[in-house]
């Protein structure tokens, strides 16, 4: 049975997750991929405010297809996480605790993840249509010029994922 998680995920629940466990996430999560990560990290370096407070939050690496008039969102499966490896440690230092994407992460990423007791979850790549059905709200909250790469706040219900790297650094890879 999958473990049900409600965002923001409290410290106790998050730290009890074990690599390999299947989970279902409900609540608000934020989207961001290559371009948004670059902009957010540049903002931190310049001492500017981030488009949302990342403390205790969840970021999902996705750039959805446009929603049709009758849809909340288009296809929205994960993108490869390794491209965010250079940026994630800076965001984790600002309190980001959960990241969702696909594929393995770098050694430096895992080191910072252990320090911050954060977790990395895996969504199954290529399940764009299936995952779109778990998204109930979709609002662009920053960088609209980035189009599909804009930062969005999504409300998800029972979004399926696998614990890929737990807070102790154990990994499924």
């Amino acid at each position: 049975m999958e473990k049900k998680l409600k965002t923001p995920i409290d410290d106790h629940t998050r730290e009890s997750l074990i690599a390999g466990e299947e989970v279902l996430i409900s609540g608000y999560i934020y989207t961001g991929r290559d371009a948004a990560h670059k902009l957010m990290v540049e903002s931190i370096i310049k001492g500017e405010k981030l488009p949302f407070n990342v403390d205790q939050q969840v970021i999902y690496y996705v750039g959805p297809t446009p929603a049709k008039p009758n849809q909340v969102i288009g296809a929205c499966g994960p993108t490869s996480s390794y491209r965010m490896d250079a940026f994630s440690p800076t965001l984790m230092k600002k309190g980001l605790k959960v990241m969702i994407g696909k594929g393995p992460r770098s050694k430096e990423f895992i080191e910072q993840l252990k320090k911050q007791k954060a977790v990395y979850l895996l969504a199954i790549g290529g399940l764009g249509a299936k995952l779109s059905q778990t998204v109930k709200e979709n609002k662009v909250i920053a960088y609209p010029h980035l189009q599909s790469e804009a930062v969005r706040q999504l409300y998800v219900e029972d979004f399926p994922a696998i614990v890929a790297i737990d807070s102790k650094g154990n990994s499924v890879f």
Partner: protein
């Protein structure tokens, strides 16, 4: 002489991209299903079921299979008796623009690799032309995702490295790609030619039909050997273990220089979207 009207090209290209973004080919789905039945790794089996379920949801609810609706790749086989009195490339790009707009597909193309400003309509396509006998136009179209393309590789081997060198390079490529290329994969291998020819025939390899075989025996044997070795790597569906790492290996070869042994590996993810249409040219009045 024969011709095909511009509007037919635009409409056909548009429909091909929309259709392929929403539907996987029947043969490919059957291949996924038979692999799911055979897969012994429980997590791998469960992932394959979800991939099969995803294509049903996409088909029934008109949602693209994957959010990465790719670079528009178009391969044309142009019958030699056809003439076009308009800009064929412009017509193809007009079809791509229409398809990505009308089909609610993601626009993933940026104008310049360094400045990275989105073109907002997913044009331009990457187009390859080839001339063949007759008066038909065969169009192959595929929205090619970035994840698997990023894990593709090319190496100029020495002739001395031979077949084993090719095998080692292909295996290394699939291993390095791991879950990042979204396995189960179709592994396209191009051997011979030169630097760009190897890459092009590797790309053409992933356009081949899922159940076909290479044209010559040497390549057929290499396909079998590679598929077996790849599925022993325990990469598995999405890189989490299992024997379903590749659904097929396709090898295309071409003659090459006495000093060279180019090998290119183009990876195709499990969202193997592609479409093929054959258009008949219309005879032009008063022409011979």
């Amino acid at each position: 002489m024969y011709t095909i009207e511009r509007k037919t090209i635009v409409e056909t290209i548009k429909d091909m991209f929309i259709d392929s973004a929403y539907h996987l080919g029947e043969d490919f789905v059957n291949k996924l299903k038979s692999s799911q039945e055979k897969e012994s790794n429980q997590l791998g089996k469960s992932i394959l079921s979800k991939i099969i379920e995803n294509q049903e949801i996409a088909k029934n609810n008109n949602i693209p299979l994957c959010q990465d609706t790719g670079v528009a790749v178009v391969m044309l086989e142009i019958g030699r008796e056809l003439i076009f009195d308009y800009d064929l490339e412009e017509a193809i790009n007009a079809g791509v623009r229409r398809g990505y707009m009308d089909g609610y597909l993601r626009k993933s193309m940026v104008k310049h690799p360094i400045n990275r400003i989105n073109t907002l309509d997913n044009s331009p396509a990457v187009i390859h032309y080839e001339f063949v006998a007759g008066h038909q136009l065969t169009i192959h179209a595929a929205p090619k995702g970035g994840g698997s393309e990023n894990m593709s590789r090319l190496k100029m081997l020495t002739p001395g490295e031979g077949e084993q060198g090719i095998i080692d390079f292909v295996i290394e490529t699939v291993k390095l790609a791991g879950g990042k290329a979204c396995p189960p994969l179709i592994v396209g291998v191009g051997i011979g030619g030169n630097f760009e020819k190897a890459a092009l025939i590797a790309k053409k390899a992933i356009f081949r039909k899922i159940n076909d075989q290479a044209e010559n025996e040497v390549d057929q044997l290499l396909e079998e050997k590679l598929l077996k070795e790849i599925n022993h790597l325990n990469v598995g569906p999405m890189g989490l273990g299992g024997e379903t790492t590749a659904l097929a290996v396709k090898v295309n070869s071409y003659p090459c220089h006495i000093a060279s042994l180019p090998v290119a590996v183009n990876l195709q993810c499990h969202s193997a979207r592609k479409s093929e249409v054959i258009l008949d040219g219309k005879k032009i009045e008063n022409s011979n």
